[in-house]
């Protein structure tokens, strides 16, 4: 399968197979007017299979959101058809308004305007907890 290479833009590579659509939605890529390619189940030496997203514009990817959803993904910045930067992701210490607290007793359920903030409390097991009620992110 051939997809044109991009001149100026971003390639999100090494996405865990099956997560591309989730990332597409979380990053709000549907709002872009440029070409966006989602490649699912591409062969990968390291992972067996992987997903890839190619964005044909200088889109400012929210690295924190991406790292939260799939910390093993990589972000390649392409300028004049050349790879100029390869960003490795690391789990963000804090994420704001990416996910919502599901605890019905949490203050965020009654005070709608509060930001939903989660803190990384266990790096090894990738556990985030709500800063208000300390419930685990689901």
């Amino acid at each position: 399968m051939n997809i044109d290479s991009i001149k100026n833009g971003i390639v999100i590579d090494h996405i865990t197979a099956g997560k591309a659509l989730e990332i597409y939605n979380f990053l709000g890529l549907e709002a872009l007017s440029c070409s966006v390619a989602i490649i699912k189940n591409a062969p990968s030496k390291k992972l067996g299979k992987k997903d890839i997203i190619k964005i044909d514009s200088d889109f400012d990817v929210d690295i924190d959101i991406l790292a939260y959803i799939d910390p093993d993904a990589t972000v390649n910045i392409i300028k004049d058809s050349k790879l100029v930067e390869k960003k490795k992701l690391k789990l963000p210490e804090k994420i704001t308004n990416v996910i919502k607290c599901k605890n019905p007793r949490c203050i965020t359920t009654t005070e709608q305007e509060l930001p939903h903030i989660f803190k990384l409390t266990d790096k090894q097991n990738r556990i985030y907890r709500c800063v208000y009620c300390e419930s685990k992110a689901k």
Binding site: N103, R105, C106, I107, T108, T109, T110, E111, E113, L114, D122, C130, V131, Y132, C133, E134, S135
Partner: protein, 304 residues
Amino acid sequence: MKSVINILDLSVEELQKLIDTANDIIKNPTKYSEICKGKKLATLFFEPSTRTRLSFEAAMYELGGNVLSMSDAGTSSAAKGESVADTAKVISCYADIIAMRHPKEGAPLVAAMNADIPVINAGDGGHNHPTQTLADLLTIYREKGGFDNLTVGFCGDLKFGRTVHSLIEALSRYKNIKFVLISPEELKLPSYIKKDIIQKNNFEYLQTTDLQSVMPELDILYMTRVQRERFFNEADYLRLKDSYILTPEKLQNAKKDLSILHPLPRVNEISVAIDKDERACYFKQVLYGKYMRMALILMLLEVL
């Protein structure tokens, strides 16, 4: 400016400073009787809690300060839909410090994030109640002279009891404590507390359903109430309820210097006959709670 939302907001050094201050207040109450003159504590209680509110108010009065009280959420601005953040900003214009109880978990943190004055969490739903833990800690300290090398038994509802979770967290910062967890299967300590606090810090622990068998080992026995509504069926409740009621007979093989604590209110889990036993510390614990609240107010107002 510091607020106290969780017991872990206080370092071990700060806890020791609070204990030292509380002990000094007990010894020299007159030295502190005017120390907060001109200062105002706002008690914002969005759900009923007579004893905690009165303890905070008594604490502030004994420091010579004044109290602004909002005890009935039904007639307050909250009933008109004001946010916790706005309430905190408004009260910051009137008072010097806030003690807040709220049914929603995290509400006092929201207040602390928005107030210009220190906020003390006086209980947020089933989540945190740090000043109860301060009362527990001062009681243990005064009874045992410290926290290291103690065998501490927790008995009753260890699943939903927030005071149990907080005290385990607080004690996990001391050395060589053995935790004895006594509860019915249905009300066992949540595994994340066992894993993240007790096992992670390499504390010795024992889980059992039998209070009687572990009684001789205990230096501290922290009792909690086994509530009927926590059981899925009535038969299980009836089968288990009496196993966790402390009676003079059950204390027969206990240490002579055991200290029995309870966050109160009790229903029937400690027999009234035990109240006269020297080992019963739960009413002293209430008094110590007031002294620790006094010490905390002084620390947060930076009066000392």
